[in-house]
């Protein structure tokens, strides 16, 4: 009985690892898409209202839920550290700490936004946000392709590994 239970746990564990990897691919697509739309929202706000950074981040925090909303909320909270670190540092630190599922290429696009946001005139910020949005669009396409290719592979491998472990151990 214990043997059967052990085998079942191993099989479920192996399947779970594979399925979690597949879910991470899905989450990356979701988070890159959200951040791409968030860049568009920022660009839009800077085109019309030109709000101060605290108001801009507050609006973003209200607009987006989940990890993206939490990221903007953390950036807004940290604005009072501006006399000791730059907006770029605040943005980068919170990006690193956030629960956003991002790959290195997505992260580097977003980090560059932090170096421009709130530091230059409206037009330059809008240009940078537009570029970031486009580059995130490319990242999104790649992430979606990768998800299409690998989700089934991961799921199949997970189930196969689980099945194989069962056979081997029994």
């Amino acid at each position: 009985m214990i043997r059967w239970l052990g085998v079942a746990c191993l099989a479920v564990g192996a399947a779970g690892v594979g399925l979690a990897a597949a879910r991470r691919l899905e989450r990356r697509v979701r988070d890159v898409r959200t951040m791409m739309y968030a860049m568009e929202s920022l660009e839009h706000a800077l085109s019309f209202h030109m709000p101060p950074m605290s108001a801009l981040l507050e609006a973003m925090e209200r607009r987006w839920t989940g990890p993206a909303g939490a990221f903007f909320a953390a950036c807004r909270r940290d604005l009072d550290k501006l006399d000791t670190c730059s907006m770029g540092d605040i943005w980068r630190d919170n990006l690193r700490r956030s629960a956003l599922e991002l790959e290195e290429e997505d992260r580097s696009v977003l980090e560059e936004v932090g170096d421009i946001l709130g530091r230059y005139d409206g037009e330059r910020q809008r240009e940078s946000l537009a570029q970031a949005r486009q580059r995130l669009g490319v990242c999104l396409e790649r992430a979606a392709e990768r998800r299409e290719k690998l989700t089934r592979v991961y799921a199949a491998l997970a189930l196969a590994a689980g099945g194989m472990l069962t056979v081997v151990l029994l």
């Binding site: 800077l46 030109m50 709000p51 101060p52 950074m53 605290s54 801009l56 604005l79 501006l82 006399d83 000791t84 730059s86 907006m87 605040i90 946001l117 709130g118 530091r119 230059y120 005139d121 409206g122 037009e123 330059r124 910020q125």
Partner: protein, 304 residues
């Protein structure tokens, strides 16, 4: 009472927007010097300097870089440089504490006008100081048989005209040494009240209504129409529209307090703009400085 660096130091507060390295240099200056600092000047490629009176001296040998200019503005604006640069036509921005940052750099134009600054080359941080009591000796001389007289404060730049006017507004509005007076303040340059995020950073007393962000002439008219002021105050009469607005305001029964650059009444009469101002009899009192810059006193002369 003057606010000095021992209790509250406006220069220290203004220096808080400087990047860490530059700030440390400023904070290492002797207290006696910090008390006198009127401006911090940052120029790309040159060392940070402090202005005291007519003297400008370097704080260190280290040249200020482009990055430090941007960081200063980033901190001063709360990472909202876009809200500052896109208003650069005014030439300066007011920050928390009422300090003003003057901006200089490579302008980007739109339809022939400066729209923004693409690259900063210099910043000037002007330290705002409120000297409570500066007008206490002047105020009794501004009262005539019919109440408050209209007065023009006349002095060369840097003699404290704005500081005196601000304190006269505060005294009138609080009713210190006189009956309380409702004062409408047309603060075009943001130096009198130094409104920052909707809150005046300078104490103008409980009966002062501030109109800022618009031309003085327009501001005076809005105040007259909407706020029923007993006295009006405006800083620096410099344009024909200001003179016209002053004349209109004087005709509405409110006493007018204003400042102008100049050395004496005779100096004013030589300049066409002010000749008209004096000729129309808008002001009945002239407040002029006496003594030296360091130990300035004010004298009140009656105008015919």
């Amino acid at each position: 009472m003057d606010k000095t660096c021992a209790a509250f130091c406006p220069a220290r507060q203004a220096a808080a927007v400087l990047p860490y390295g530059l700030r440390q240099g400023v904070l290492a200056l002797p207290e006696s010097l910090l008390e006198e600092v009127e401006e911090f000047r940052l120029r790309a490629g040159q060392p940070l300097t402090v202005v005291t009176g007519e003297e400008e001296r370097p704080v260190s040998d280290q040249p200020v870089g482009q990055e430090e200019l941007h960081t200063t503005l980033e901190v001063a604006s709360g990472a909202s440089v876009h809200t500052v640069l896109d208003k650069v036509r005014g030439g300066y921005v007011t920050i928390r504490g009422g300090h003003r940052i003057g901006l200089c750099g490579t302008a980007a134009t739109r339809e022939g006008h400066i729209a923004t600054l693409r690259r900063l080359t210099s910043l000037s941080i002007r330290v705002a100081r409120q000297v409570n009591g500066a007008g206490a000796q002047v105020l009794p001389h501004l009262w005539g048989p019919g109440g408050l007289e209209s007065a023009l404060i006349l002095a060369p730049p840097g003699w404290g005209k704005t500081t005196l006017l601000r304190d006269l507004i505060r005294l009138l509005s609080r009713g210190e040494g006189c009956p309380p007076v409702r004062v409408g303040v047309a603060d075009e340059r943001g130096e009198l009240a130094a409104v920052w995020e909707g809150v005046p950073q300078m104490d103008l007393g409980p009966r002062a209504d501030v109109m800022d962000g618009c031309a003085k002439a327009e501001g005076l008219m809005v105040l007259l129409r909407g706020m029923n002021p007993q006295a009006l105050a405006m800083d620096e009469i410099t344009a024909p529209e200001d003179v016209e607005a002053a004349a209109l305001a004087a005709g509405c029964g409110a006493a007018l307090l204003a400042t102008a650059h100049g050395a004496s009444a005779a100096d004013l009469r030589r300049r066409p703009l002010y000749r008209k101002l004096l000729g129309e009899g808008i002001f009945t009192r002239l407040v002029v400085p006496r003594g030296s810059r360091r130990q300035r006193r004010w004298a009140v002369e009656a105008l015919p």
